[in-house]
Symmetry: C2
Subunit: 501 residues, 2 copies
């Protein structure tokens, strides 16, 4: 049996494998601040690439970026009843504006604030307050603004990337003159997220509408993209909310319409977070560590020079530098190739494994013998680590972009096949229990998605809770209705069910 | 007398002019959260361009980005005595982790934390804590990490961009095996800031060492880039700190050196903030509003189509789209030209003035008559608003990049000339008072920089306070020493003095 770089393997223990991949790729770690992670350089480089590509898509759909305050007065939060009840239990509260030394010289809070602030768990209320000032007439609409920011929701049980008290995200907040325009915006951004997940992260996602129990606090409708992880659990990868006029009323965003009448605006918000990095890991990585789709690989090609003495070093490094210069002129998805030469003084085998674990799509080894023979050894991350292809430099030049395209494409196809193999139509409670396991079965595996008629009612969540199953979404363009397997109600929509992160 | 777009003008009231430029260009505004600003899309676009260019320079000098927690346990802050006394008086303190309704239904803080946190005013202590874990041996050094983040320092008197409670910045934090290497790093980043300010923002800055009274709390040496605003006041535009082993000792960052002995690391930190946007405004803008160096202009060229009916609209817009397509192929400083067509339905004159006030380097008007005559009307932001140049499309293509270069270059030269005209060698107290005014003269103008022998001692700050003058820095490569004009001490270094922001 071949040894893998990650212990335990995915089949042995998926949650522990996940933690070990993060350690092996040096992506992030827990900090001494409860629930807050440190995103290390390799993990942050993934976030930077995600930001770059998604930011371009957000701007191409007509949005601009801006920045709003980190702190939100508690009174703002109170303005929308659903919203405050959704977030009050997990807010970091700022109550003082300085520290002073007590009698023992210990620092204690001082300068109590008249009104406490919360660190933004999301920014609808503070942004709404500004929009109310900015919007007077229909001519001021739409407002199409996005913000890249940190937010904080005090979590008791955290997991790196998937659930942390502080996380990074983008939050779009738009205001419109008509309901229809706001709905169109909501769906446009859902589609942007879908395409981004598929084309950039190689993660297939299903678009759908959240059931009422899973709506964003204060939203009229919440739409989601749902991904399926390798272990059969679903993961919500992004959301887009149609707020109706709820937040416009709470923040008093009114405008004079073309008829000269005062109306409340219609608003939306939409966001994705650093959680996407968790989704990325659990979509593609294997028992040797991280596997990165080339689009999101900080280095797409790593060059590993091999030499035993100073003369060989000079020869090999010069060759590598020239190779790199030529490679970076090529384009992958309209960007110049990202190529890195690892010159560190370190055992070749160890070095090679480090880059395997970091998920680099193509590894190239160059030694004096290769140079003499005019060959280059290329290893693809989507093949076994030992599987190396010998080729000439001109063959490499001709094929490297196509290799990267094959890897990007192959990862998506593999994830799509996994999804197709883990979705099942369920017609009865018996089938449901055969799929997900009986009530209170803590050991039950996560089998993937079930498609099933479920009434969109409050009580459903409680029933499903006993099975540790959640309603993920009502897929878009659903035209099927039938009898709810739990309540017997007719005309229940098709709901996607799954155990989930 | 010609009317200007901004009232009051710079000579009438510089501080109010500054506020009015920000309003006219729609850069930012105060928020309902005390001391925190909202950076509006046009202002944030400036920050995005600053980030892009500076981030490239930071990476080219070998640094990588990462992200550390927003919150810092109070006990971390206490570890470095100077540091805590520098920041304790202006910290936002988080004491609770949820809200609950009181008897009247009002939300109050709940879930008191065992140990309070502060929102980072700067991240030396939390980052040091992580570095202590990451560094074991000299092989783990140097660590060269930068972070783009928001920070908070509770300010009582705030001004948009120049001094706000929350601001955006980058903070580099590096750790090294030797003092010399850390000093070299400190100076490298100072030079990066200098070059960035000069080449990108067209702001000439002086590099120097801060006097002891102006050091960053906990630093062994603080270096600064100092800029001179149009009103003769200095502005600190960036700082680079050599920490010695102070923070390594506070955070216990130790490593085994090549001889196998334990040593404390040597650390640095360096940062620039959204304050740079304030510096940008006060370096170049005029009585008609913002003036942007092309490198930092979100649109470098604005195309203003003029038409009176649907047929003209079709004709003119088609011409404008083609013109834009051709223009964006050209390069300015290795980036494609940023060109925008303003299609809004609005009076031409008003539209034109909006873009004047927003500081666009080149404005192009296109109407049916221009198309018929084969001419284009071009207006440069560094000329009078009415001053338009008529040229053919091919002339525009041949000259537009050179126009932008002239504007970028011209703004720098103008700012350099202003600096050269506002720096004076001062040899005595009499000359000092003739330059800055007598003690307690609140009306005294800011005349620029004085170069003057000043002892680098604690008491100097108090003496200068009466004149509302501050020590900006001891310029780099200073070889002149002489008699301090206040204390009479010999061998005092040349100090740059100024009234300052």
């Amino acid at each position: 049996m071949s040894k893998t770089a990650i212990t335990p393997t995915r089949t042995e223990n998926y949650p522990q494998w996940y933690q070990q991949v993060i350690i092996a790729a040096d992506l992030a770690e827990n900090s001494p601040v409860r629930g807050c992670m440190v995103i290390k350089p390799w993990g942050y480089a993934l976030w930077e690439l995600i930001q770059q590509d998604l930011d371009r898509r957000i701007k191409e759909t007509g949005h601009v970026n801006a920045y709003f305050p980190l702190l939100i007065p508690v009174s703002f939060l109170e303005k929308e009843a659903q919203h405050v009840s959704g977030f009050a239990k997990e807010c970091a509260v700022v109550t003082h504006h300085r520290l002073k030394a007590d009698d023992q010289g210990k620092l204690i809070p001082d300068g109590e604030l008249e009104e406490p602030f919360v660190i933004r768990p999301t920014s609808e209320t503070i942004i709404g307050e500004m929009y109310a000032k900015w919007v007077q007439s229909y001519r001021d609409l739409p407002i199409l603004i996005n913000q890249w920011a940190n937010v904080m929701r005090w979590e008791m049980r955290t997991r790196l990337f998937l659930r942390t008290s502080e996380f990074l995200w983008q939050e779009g907040h738009t205001a419109h003159a008509t309901a229809q325009e706001a709905i169109t915006e909501t769906m446009t951004m859902l589609q942007v997220y879908h395409d981004f997940a598929k084309d950039f992260l190689a993660i297939p996602v299903i678009m759908g509408c959240k059931p009422i129990t899973e709506r964003f606090p204060g939203a009229q409708d919440t739409y989601t993209i749902e991904a399926l992880m390798q272990d059969g659990k679903a993961l919500q990868a992004g959301t887009s909310h149609f707020m109706g006029q709820n937040f416009a009323q709470a923040s008093d965003i009114q405008f004079l319409n073309q008829q000269g009448e005062r109306e409340y605006a219609w608003t939306t918000s939409w966001g994705v977070t650093t959680r996407l990095i968790g989704a990325l890991i659990m979509s593609h990585s294997d028992d040797d560590g991280l596997v990165l789709p080339p689009a999101v690989a900080p280095h797409q090609i790593i060059i590993l020079p091999i030499f035993r003495n100073a003369e060989e070093e000079r020869l090999v490094l010069e060759y590598c530098e020239n190779l790199k210069k030529t490679l970076v002129q090529q384009l992958f998805k309209e960007n110049k190739l990202r190529v890195h030469i690892d010159k560190r003084d370190m055992r070749g085998g160890e070095k090679n494994w480090q880059w395997v674990k970091k998920g680099i799509p193509l590894r190239i080894e160059i030694g004096p013998r290769d140079i003499a023979q005019g060959t280059i050894m290329v290893a693809r991350r989507d093949r076994a680590p030992q599987d190396k292809i010998s080729m000439s430099q001109s063959e490499l030049m001709a094929q490297c972009v196509s290799f990267l395209e094959q890897i990007q494409d192959g990862l998506l196809k593999k994830a799509q096949a996994h999804y197709a193999n883990h979705i099942k139509n369920i017609h009865s409670l018996e089938e449901f229990e055969a799929f997900f396991g009986k009530e209170d079965n803590e050991q039950a595996q996560a089998p993937g998605f079930a498609r099933c008629f479920i009434a969109d009612k409050m009580e459903i969540a409680d029933i499903l809770k006993k099975y540790r199953v959640t309603q993920r979404c009502i897929p878009l363009n659903n035209n099927e209705y039938g009898r709810c397997i739990f309540t017997g109600q007719e005309n229940a929509p098709i709901m996607l069910l799954a155990k989930a992160y």
